[in-house]
Amino acid sequence: MSATAKPIANTRSVTGIPTARLITWWVIASEIVIFGGLLAAYLMHRLGHPEWAASASHTNTWAGAFNTFVLLTSSLCAVLAHKAADALDGPRAARLLRLTALGGVIFLTVKGFEWTTDIREGFVISSGGFWSYYYTLAGLHGLHVLAGAVIMLIVASDAAKNRELQRVECIGLYWHFVDIVWIFLFPLLYIAR
Amino acid sequence: MDFGEVTEAVMYERYITAASTYAHSIDHLFLLIAALVGFWLIVAEVVLFALVFKFREKEGQSTRYITGEEKELHRWITIPHMLVILCDIVIIVPAILVWYNIKQAQPPADRTVRVYAQQWAWSFQEPGPDGKLDTDDDVRTVGELHVTVNTTYHFELMSRDVVHSFAIPSFRLKQDALPGRTITGWFRPNRVGTYDIQCTQMCGLGHALMAGRVIVETQQDHAAWLMRNSNPSLAAQPAAPAPAPESTTMAEVRR
């Protein structure tokens, strides 16, 4: 982080929404259309190809369910971190953020085992329509989890020193978004038959 | 300038022959739109230049303070606005009618041909003298489609690789060919002659070389051509197996 002072533009708040929160919402909005486009394409094709259900039955529903649980729990930590930041308790917020990031790491680890099994069984990204969407959607989501966790650790290291506490809320918002995307992906990729 | 020997009254034919039954309906729609939007274009340009001239900076001229919310002034926007909506309707209705007649309503076919697009050639499968497709006397040609004048044709359009577009400008016909689908359309040629077939969708290196010809013949000429090219001795043999990519395409289509 460089030492440049913030421009006045950054400190104004004509809408009443703090600038950092506002930009987070816009980032989420633009991400929604990216995932929305991909999900809409997947749904259209899935409806047109009932035979994809056979491929979908090879996915590991238990791993998916466990990951859903992990993400939801980590989102709870993010909420608590926000509370701590509101109470200006930076170190506590940092601890909770690190816990949240740990959730992301567990998610990715489980995902890694899952994919290794899938690939060992011969289901790779080019194995058919379902698998292409499965790996693309989950992969894109996984990238967001990874990016979120990394940013969260950076925010946590600032927060531990009681700096930039407004970022705790923003990264939390982003994390909820990543969580919600997974809430859509899990039933559509794992459960739907 | 010489735009060909066509002398029909329709202005459009200065540019390109009209050789199918629906060519004129497209041309007339074009002229209707040209008249309406031409009127608007001229009015708008004239008003624009007249205002610039009338209100150019002059000695001692002061500007008028107008917000544009004044009722008697906003009229000058509202009335043209309504007229634009009216013109839109006048265009939409015939545009959809022309479209409906060409692309949606298919008159019953006298004959059906199959059109294959591939990088970078057109090939055709025409029924032989028996008038049926997929029999032994079918005529397969590359780059040349022979049709009879005043006969309604259906075409089944397929692509063997990438997206192509089957266009016969003189027929005012254009339809993209998609791999994995069969798209059916129709045309009814009404003038004897030889016309270009173009590919109008970028299809790779040889896109510009992907030319074909449609040869519109009289009934007698066409029958003679069919007899020459449809070998009756083939009837004794089993039907030639279709090339592999084609059967994949067909299977896909019928899924």
Partner: protein, 563 residues
């Protein structure tokens, strides 16, 4: 005010060359980076136009500066011309350069809300431009499958024969989108949150409104195409079958994703252009804009409608023919707000006192030419005529009559208008006027003949019509040659602009803070504005177009003047 105190605190010593020109977070410097990158890309795009027009005008002759144009090279050149002109010229110059330069100045603050995101946006953009240009050098050459990149052609090296070029093209476009998403989010947040005290929604200059609406439209439409680009990338590199019908994919999916973005994109670049023209018309006619609010509502209408017209690019693409009827109606509906906008611009001239300085000439030129582009769109939006005109040179001429006014004419309007602010000097008026006429007249000479060849059935992206009897008539070749000569004249007149642009930087007459006697906030700071823009951050008391108010000594009333 606490804001001023804070501001005085971060005056720092003059940074070194690298920090100042390459690593700056100052919105004005980033705007210049975008402007100069965009101009360099415009020269490349113009050179490509020269190459394929030469091949069209004088088929199979040696093109000076390029060589013989083979079919493969021709495809590359037309593909890159389209891609560059839209994504690397129109977008960066109209939105990023003017947006970056003008947003903080016009809304009265010291910088963008997130200056480092702004810098990152430019750096990603620059990287995307390098990747795109680098694709010319790879084995097989640059991508040649048209700027629309329809799969399966774009998905497989076996079909397009430029496997590396196709992937680099896709990467470059994706990177460019990321750059503009970052930049656009920053713009939107800045305008929403960082306006000067007193600047209410309807006190925002129309240009700023239009840039923000354009970025919002971009954000809402680009997402699906980014997803589509990822899928196409996997089709190219990992043998997936998203667009492969044999494996359950669908080539039409890309077309829908592409045009769901592609049509709003037209308005993404149109709106800032219209905004620039509005600012200039108000200043040089000394008039309040005729119906500021009607203008805004029409713009919103255009923005919303632009999302429901995309399939008019696909009438004959093999979609369900019934869909064409719906999209014909929506397409013609969009003519209503656009016509309204043009009417309002023309009405603004009424009762004014019009000075025909160079920026005003460009602004009026925009209106006169854009009208032609607008009305010819009706032929293509009507499904019936589109059966014939789709993908012919009629279409080419139509969208160049919209895109040249947007990306060339309005940009020249903007540059000549804000040049005094950007560089502190006036441009030469005589050279400016010569350049104006030398650009606008040949522009019509280029494209009117192309309307005619299009009506005669010339389809686009064809390097030689020798294969087609109907198209190789000499009369049509005369028209193509005329068009090429028009282009040569137009390109040669651009040298005058380049000379004027750089010569005036050193030798132009010094510009005062407000040479055009304008009301908006950017003219209240010195030319060029210092770091931090405003010595004292302004407060806004009124709307942006108070010209010719009766009973006042001056014929303009700046937004920040208390009385």
């Amino acid at each position: 005010m606490s804001e001023q105190v804070q501001h005085a605190g971060h005056d720092h010593p003059e940074p070194g060359f690298f920090l100042k020109y390459c690593w700056s977070t100052d919105h004005k410097m980033i705007a210049m980076q975008y402007l100069f990158t965009g101009m360099a890309m415009a020269m490349i795009g113009g050179f490509l136009a020269y190459v394929f027009r030469m091949q069209q005008g004088f088929p199979n002759h040696y093109v000076p500066g390029f060589g013989l144009v083979t079919p493969g090279r021709y495809n590359e050149v037309v593909t890159m011309h389209g891609t560059i002109m839209i994504f690397w010229v129109a977008m960066p110059v109209l939105i990023a350069a003017f947006g970056n330069y003008l947003i903080p100045l016009m809304i009265g603050c010291d910088d963008m809300a997130f200056p480092r995101i702004n810098r990152l946006s430019y750096q990603i953009f620059l990287l995307s431009a390098i990747v795109l240009l680098g694709s010319f050098l790879v084995k097989g050459g640059a991508f040649g499958g048209a700027w629309t990149a329809y799969p399966p052609l774009s998905a497989s090296g076996a079909y397009n024969l430029t496997p590396i070029g196709a992937t680099l093209w896709l990467l470059a476009v994706a990177l460019e989108f990321v750059a503009f998403l970052l930049g656009g989010i920053n713009f939107t947040v800045t305008v929403m949150n960082s306006r000067a005290p007193g600047m209410k929604m309807f006190d925002i200059p129309i240009l700023i409104w239009m840039i923000v609406l354009a970025t919002v439209i971009f954000m809402a439409s680009a997402g699906p195409l980014i997803a589509g680009a990822v899928m196409l990338l996997f089709d190219q590199t990992m043998a997936t079958g998203f667009y492969d019908p044999v494996r359950g994919g669908d080539p039409l999916l890309w077309q829908h994703l592409f045009w769901f973005f592609g049509h709003p994109e037209v308005y993404v670049v149109l709106l800032p252009a219209m905004g620039i023209v509005a600012e200039i018309i108000a200043v040089f006619a000394r008039k309040k804009l005729f119906g500021y609010k009607s203008m805004l509502y029409s713009t919103w209408g255009v923005g919303i409608l632009s999302f429901v017209v995309w399939a008019h690019h696909q009438f004959v693409a093999g979609i369900d023919p019934r869909m064409a009827n719906v999209f014909t109606v929506t397409t013609l509906l969009i003519s209503i707000p656009v016509a309204e906008l043009v009417f309002l611009y023309i009405a603004t001239l009424y009762g004014g006192s019009i000075r025909l300085d160079t920026p005003m000439l460009w602004a009026l030129g925009f209106l006169a030419e854009f009208l032609i582009g607008g009305v010819t769109g009706i032929f293509l939006g009507s499904s019936g005529t589109d059966i014939y005109l789709h993908d012919t040179y009629f279409l080419i001429a139509h969208f160049h009559y919209t895109f040249v006014p947007i990306a060339i004419i309005s940009v020249f309007a903007g540059i000549t208008f804000w040049y005094p602010k950007m560089f502190g000097r006036m441009m030469n008026e005589t050279l400016g006027k010569i350049h104006f006429w030398g650009t606008v007249i040949p522009f019509n000479v280029i494209f009117i003949p192309l309307f005619m060849t299009g009506m005669a059935g010339d389809q686009r992206r064809i390097y030689s019509y020798a294969q087609f009897a109907e198209q190789s008539r000499p009369a049509l070749q005369h028209l193509r040659t005329t068009s090429t000569i028009g282009l040569l004249v137009m390109l040669s007149f651009q040298l005058i602009f380049i000379f004027n642009f750089f010569w005036s930087m050193r030798n132009g007459k010094r510009a005062e803070a407000n040479p055009w006697r304008s009301t908006t906030l950017e003219w209240t700071v010195p030319s060029p504005p210092p770091h931090g823009n405003f010595a004292e951050l302004p407060t806004v008391y009124r709307g942006p177009y108070e010209y010719g108010l009766p009973g006042r000594a001056d014929d303009y009333w700046p937004q920040n003047a208390p009385n």
